[in-house]
Amino acid sequence: MSTVKRKLTIAKAISESISLEMEADENVFVMGEDIAKLGGVFGTTTGLLDKFGPERVRDTPISETAFIGAAVGAAAVGMRPIVELMFVDFFGVCMDAIYNLAAKNCYFSGGNQPIPMVLMTSVGGGYGDAGQHSQCLYGTFAHLPGMKVVIPSNAYDAKGLMHTAVVDNNPVIFMLHKNLQGMGWLGTEKKSIVDVPKEIYGVPFGKAAIVRKGKDITLVGLGVTVHMALDAANKLEKEGVDAEVIDLRSLVPLDRETIFNSVSKTGRLLVIDDDYISYGVTGEIISSVAEQDSSVFKTSPQRIAYPDIPIPFTRPMEQFALPNKDKIFNTAKEMMEGK
């Protein structure tokens, strides 16, 4: 791989990745609301219209059921659509096309009609956009079989995972966190802006990244919570606690092995998620370790996630409910002290 690297935001890495994939394969095209002239509300398709024209970069009516359904049909006959659902919170108007068509048609057809499509969507809150524009819904998508579910935490992974998504022969739900994407008008986590090679490269699904090695406690996160965990780990280090931080990168497939091996070593597991807590990601991670061998736990595994409440608009309430580095630090310390 060349050594030409630039620090990119996730949004830039994604639009670059899509551009490269569209050059490489004329079956790749993009559609969604405001993805052409506007370049995507979150900037993930910026520049594509100028480069590839309105046939391959298509603004759609506000008709998610129709255009996501259309992506399924196009994929069935060999196209590789990348389709944007502007906010994941809108899944309720089009979930049938996603989970009853995209996710199941490969199986229903006995493997004869794979659906190679990417559903790109933005997740997460923290900027006061209230309860219909701030959710993550990781658990909702990961629970239903037939879709891969990918959540990058930085620009390098974003570009590489997007390549893997586009060339994958299956539906991939690509979830981009608004605190990470790098739009000017939203706060952006600095650590998500990293060196990105210019060429196409892949980052595999189902391989969690150990983004910080440690021996005392395993902090598992995804998307934005990886950065919170890293911040907490730095703080913990000052207290003599050596935390290992795992970035899941994909929920489906899930790298149960990396998690289990880490917890076998540290004996302590703390999972951090900004999706709703119950019946979601945190439960799955904890259980997948417990069912393999619950004796690895030196102390009860813990989780920090969004409480089971709709997301409130007002800042004091929203910030109260979100996970953050201090909550992680405090819980980790309590776990170290065996509380």
Binding site: P61, T65, A66, A70, L101, S109
Partner: protein
């Protein structure tokens, strides 16, 4: 009016095949489900939606299609699958849940996929609309021949997917045709109770496209209307909408007692059964004589019998194959 003998023969033969297919299916379905009807039992478990009476819609449209053209059907798919040329043996084996079925038994009667002829169907109302538009879009983007046709029921025209897709197809001028099979019922709910207009062809105006309503469940009238719509689609002029008056001669699904039907409705429908009617037409118009018709019918009996024979004698899949084909 259509005079090509081959096509007329094909129309009759396909309708006849479809009807005989459903008769065989009915028998197979009821095996093991008597005296106590339990859907879980017998060689063909689950729901079973027969298409008896609706054959004209399938043949009148599919007569204009070739393998490149995609068709998306509904929970009531057999007549359309047959008219579209889906591999009958593999389809029947699929409905029997066999390894040599279209999808190795994973799909069943509501999920028949035959990519070689671009046929698919599914069990959620109006769900084929979006994918059909998507195939149409793919054909357009790649400058390939081939159009897409979505069949839905009249009840499905009240589902959001119908509206969204019609608009999308019209805005993008896709080579797409929507066929509404108006059998007057959505399970037990009549069109009158469910639909705010007597005929869905008026809804074409919402999309600035042509709409037609075809009365009489008549394969020839359907053939003509479909020709207009499909020509339009092929020549890049965009989508059309056709609603067809048809008859559901069976219950919504097998086991349906149809108590909701007005007294006498079923008898009246049977008296208008399109297959004997079309047979009579072929005889009277001198297109075919008894011998010619019988020959077609015999061929159809054989094809269907062979398919059922194939399906019955085919091997069951291994249970553990359940875990395969989730991902490609």
């Amino acid at each position: 009016m259509l005079s090509d003998v081959n096509t007329l023969q094909w129309l009759y033969g396909s309708m006849f095949k479809s009807r005989y297919y459903e008769e065989c299916m009915e028998k197979a379905y009821l095996e093991g489900k008597q005296p106590v009807f339990n859907m879980a039992n017998g060689p063909v478990p689950g729901e079973m939606h027969l298409s008896n009476g609706q054959e004209p819609c399938a043949v009148g449209v599919c007569a204009h299609l070739n393998a490149d053209d995609a068709v998306f059907a509904t929970h009531r798919p057999h007549h359309i699958a047959i008219a579209k040329g889906v591999n009958l043996k593999a389809m029947t084996a699929e409905i029997f849940g066999k390894k040599s079925g279209l999808s190795g038994g994973r799909g069943g009667h509501m999920h028949l996929f035959d990519p070689t002829v671009n046929f698919a169907c599914s069990g959620i109302i109006a769900e084929g609309m979006g994918p059909a538009a998507g195939v149409a879009l793919a054909r357009k983007l790649r400058n390939e021949p081939g159009i897409a046709v979505a069949f839905i029921g009249e009840g499905a025209a009240n589902q959001g997917a119908f509206h969204e897709t019609m608009n999308l197809a019209a805005v993008w001028k896709l080579p797409f045709v929507c066929i509404i099979e108006d059998n007057a019922w959505g399970i037990s709910v009549s069109k009158t109770d469910a639909t705010s207009v007597p005929r869905n062809d008026v809804r074409a105006a919402s999309y600035g496209i042509p709409g037609e309503y075809i009365e009489g469940n008549d394969p020839l009238a359907i053939y003509d209307a479909a020709e207009r719509a499909i020509k339009r689609a092929r020549s890049g002029q965009g989508p059309s909408l056709i609603e067809i008056e048809t008859y559901r001669l069976a219950g919504h699904f097998m086991g349906d007692t149809e108590a909701y039907r007005p007294e006498g409705e079923k008898d009246e429908l049977f008296s208008k059964d399109p297959i004997p009617k079309f047979r009579k037409h072929l005889l009277e118009s001198g297109t075919l004589d008894e011998t010619g018709l019988k020959k077609i019918e015999e061929a159809m009996y054989k094809e269907v019998d062979d398919a059922f024979e194939f399906a019955r004698s085919a091997a069951e899949p291994e249970p553990i194959e359940a875990l395969e084909k989730v991902f490609a």
